[in-house]
Amino acid sequence: MAQKVAVIDYGSGNLHSVAKAIEHAGDCQVLVSSDPHEIKTADRVVLPGVGAMGDCMAGLQARGLDSLVRELVGHTPLMGVCVGMQILAEYGEESEGVDALGIFPGHIIRFPNDLTDPNGLSLKVPHMGWNQVSVTTHPMWRGIENLTRFYFVHSYRYADWQAPCVAGICTYGEPFAAALAREGVFAVQFHPEKSHDAGLSLYANFLTWDGSC
């Protein structure tokens, strides 16, 4: 029987894009759910996210899903996407400050307003579009070439690109984390569900990932 992948529904807008992309990526049954019991029965879990970090945290907490996500770590392979990655950090400076899940150490902070490219031209925020990712040897990148482009759209980022948990780096004015990893958890700042073949490859890798780093 096909494995079950749960996409956590806590009111985030892009659930269906994520679900459709995972269905396209490989043989699996995708369920979009906000029921902790149902999510626990899944073989793998995806935490999506768009919009503001504070809203996403509030959405998780209102459904009692924050503690569920913490419980899953190390037991069920978990993938965070965009704001779903950001809320796995400790804290975000968005709005009046957001205490997040703390599954990864570190903070999510805004891109500075005075970013420039190598030619000295000022860079726009949000960072929107296709940018290159320097990948590591992490198994989730299997078959994905270094400097492959993925689709990003965000104004805040995990800035400490030298942290040990960083598993992929992107540069926009300065380097930042495109991916974070620890045992059983892989999270990306970009949107694999909007990154065409490269994104589908990443979801396909998630479907076979054993959780090791």
């Binding site: 269906h16 860079l123 929107m128 579009g129 940018n131 482009r149 759209v153």
Partner: protein
Amino acid sequence: MGLAKRIIPCLDVDQGRVVKGVQFEDIRDAGDPVEVSRRYNQEGADEITFLDITASHENRGTTYETVSRMASEVFIPLTVGGGVRTTDNIRDLLLAGADKVSINTAAVFDPEFVKRASDKFGSQCIVVAIDAKQVAPDRWEIFTHGGRKPTGLDCVEWARRMVSYGAGEILLTSMDRDGTRDGFDLGVTRAVADAVSVPVIASGGVGQLDHLVDGVLKGHADAVLAASIFHFRQYTIAEAKAAMQAAGIEVRL
């Protein structure tokens, strides 16, 4: 290495069919939106913009259904615009599978709508579409209703205001150039792109590949949008990208 400049084919959709007219007349049928977007996706389009040009209450259902079909098979960002007037419209489009929605006329009549929309759904999915016409040297004004109704609003000031209200991106169309194939209005493109802190998509007037290059290099646009050169297969997206790359512009290949 860094962020690529984007090429965005635009689908003007009327009752479930892609159409393209010259300055809003002489509309020619250019196919089924899902088939067309699938082709663009394969050719390497960076995003797709879907404009519901009739956007009447009666064909809303068709639009949601088409958007949903597109989103199920095309895994690149999809912006949907045309008749977006309420936060319910936005919610329904996002649920159907749109990644961003484009607000045009409603922003002119109720600027606070942009604020409410970006507070509720996040700036990342709110595109403000601006239709500009030149009224004097170095001065452009906002027009509504397909370029027929003047508003007296200065285009550059308006763009700044929309960004301060939470627009995450500006889709700037020159009504003087739209459908002419004479190239973008580089003056207004550059004026707006240099004035705002968010990405600007240049639109209106592309007839050859050099125009796309000029939009980025001379107009300072972050993305370039075109319709008829792609719909009628004058050029493929891949050819457009090769031309941009040859001009030294970073693109996703």
